[in-house]
């Protein structure tokens, strides 16, 4: 048996110290954020490092209602859920057809979808802005949802086609003999089998959409339609010196993702590195 590592125990301890130190660099700012979000403004400046002496929950209620975070969160949830759902529906059916049927133009269509992986959405933002304006969709949820859905299709089709292709043909044949039509084969037989890929695509797009700032910055002007990242910029302009509110706002913006990540970090890592990692 060969010792895989030749690093001595002293070296090992040094490695652990390094790893933990870097871990603290990640965690500490978030810890500060959480602590300060329940301190009063004065306490943040007086005792910046200490744990909160009492819990000033007012910060949260203030940010929630007065600084309209309730609206921002509602908008983000709505836009994200609808976009991710739409992407899954239209991409999984397209990927299913591309993977399972042979027809003229199949390869061309697949490459056409894939070429979108190379097109940065920002390059098209000006014509997209004009298009939305002409469709009277500027400053609506629809402008965001359509843009997110469209720009997510290439990646989703790419991942899902790969998964559909890997399923055995016999499944389809058996179902057809049993009298299933093509729509049922897709919906009842094949779709449940690619669930892991659907999860990957869903997580990838959830993170992208939830965190996006640029598209709402260009399309949304009414305060009550702003998503969390765009709402944050308002909020930071308005409450520059009220650090207790700022930290509470940051915490509110972070918590949804943070909590989900705590429970499913493996799936998040898999979803977000998919496409960059083989297999």
């Amino acid at each position: 048996m060969v010792n895989r590592s030749r690093v001595g125990s002293l070296g090992r301890i040094a490695l652990y110290i390094l790893l933990v130190a870097y871990g603290l660099t990640i965690v500490y700012p978030l810890f500060i954020m959480l602590c300060n979000s329940v301190k009063t403004g004065q306490e943040i400046f007086a005792n910046p490092f200490s744990l909160p002496s009492s819990f000033a929950w007012d910060n949260y209620s203030y940010v929630w209602s007065v600084a309209s975070f309730n609206a921002y969160l509602k908008n983000s949830v709505f836009v994200t859920v609808v976009s991710v759902f739409l992407v899954l529906v239209v991409s999984s059916s397209a990927a299913f057809a591309l993977a399972r049927y042979r027809f003229t133009g199949n390869t061309f269509l697949y490459l056409f979808f894939l070429s979108g992986l190379m097109l940065p959405i920002r390059l098209g933002i000006i014509p997209l802005f004009v298009l939305m304006k002409n469709l009277n969709l500027l400053d609506t949820y629809a402008s965001l949802i359509l843009t997110y859905t469209a720009s997510a299709i290439p990646f989703a089709v790419f991942i899902l086609t790969g998964f559909f292709k890997a399923l055995p043909k016999e499944l389809e044949y058996a179902a057809r003999i049993d009298g299933c039509n093509e729509y049922r084969i897709y919906y009842q037989i094949m779709l449940p089998l690619v669930r892991p890929a659907l999860a990957t695509v869903a997580i990838f797009n959830f993170v992208q959409t939830w965190n996006d700032f640029f598209i709402p910055l260009v399309f949304i002007s009414s305060d009550h339609l702003k998503t969390v990242p765009l709402g944050m910029t308002n909020f930071f302009g308005q409450y520059q010196t009220d650090w207790n509110y700022l930290f509470a706002g940051l915490t509110l913006a972070t918590l949804p993702t943070l909590i989900m990540y705590l429970f499913m970090s493996k799936q998040f890592i898999k979803g977000l590195t998919a496409g960059a990692v083989k297999g």
């Binding site: 060969v2 895989r4 030749r6 690093v7 790893l19 870097y22 871990g23 990640i26 700012p29 500060i32 943040i44 400046f45 910046p48 529906v89 239209v90 397209a94 299913f96 057809a97 591309l98 049927y101 042979r102 027809f103 003229t104 056409f112 979808f113 979108g116 190379m118 940065p120 920002r122 390059l123 098209g124 000006i126 014509p127 997209l128 802005f129 004009v130 359509l146 859905t149 469209a150 290439p154 093509e182 965190n211 700032f213 969390v228 990242p229 944050m232 910029t233 930071f236 650090w243 700022l246 930290f247 972070t254 993702t257 943070l258 970090s265 493996k266 998040f268 890592i269 977000l272 960059a276």
Partner: protein, 308 residues
Amino acid sequence: MNLKAKQKRPVQTHIVVFIIPALIIYTVFVVYPFLVSFRLSLYDWKGLGPMIYVGLGNFVKLFTKEPFNQQFFNALKHNIIFFVVTMVVQNLVGLVLAIILSRRIKGSAVFQAVYFLPVTLSLVVVGYLWTLMLNPMWGTVNLILRAVGLGSLARPWLGDPHTALLAIIFVNAWQWIGFPLLVFLASIQGIPDEFFEAARIDGASEWHVARYITVPLILPSITMVTIMTFIGTMNAFDIVYTMEGILGSPFFSTDVLGTFFYRTAFGTVWGTPGNLGFGSAVAVVMFLMVLIVSYTWLRITRKHEVQY
């Protein structure tokens, strides 16, 4: 004859039903705008009023006319710095951490999860969190420096033109480091154990193992991370906007192509009007730069990849 008949299958209804929704949404909201932006780049158009055809005039203006050319090359320089520094402080450090974590490290999964956590956060949140952390008076960074007796190092990180861009690049790396790290780690774990064992039996040092086995064998991952970093840093916008504003303060010292593009296209609230035609020209130039560099880089590295 028979063969030809076999190849040509009519497209059936259900296939059309399956594909058409994705095809329409994608074509209308991704492909069409992309193509139109090339055409728009040939016009002078403020968004309202007439579109005036100017040929390559916008491009000539961008490269030769002040203050546009100054701002463009200034921003481009910052993008290049952004890319180079990110390669070192994010991807090189990520590679080293990946090599360490590929050993039998107890709690490896926990370290991975912690390092990856910021990747899931919004750049806006990260940007603002660090704006507070880097505040000259009350920011945690300077408070810690003063507390440990290094108060002379404390400075207004984001307000000083010499440190502002670097501060932003470090914050960006703080967020993204988990990505290259885990891509490299997955790649390293795909290398057969025998390669490492053989090398160590032959007495290779850690450095030699990394240099002559690990790195050459994960070259495809390194290439991909490099290209993704290049594309990502060329598109940098959110982090600069949140930490330094649309003008790339102080004194344009953090201005990047993303903020420059936004200003030319949509203008600023202080009155400089936007020009959708000129903005499109900037977008086209950015796209071509990304395309040419990525393609060339792929061509060069493809030759050095090792099969195993």
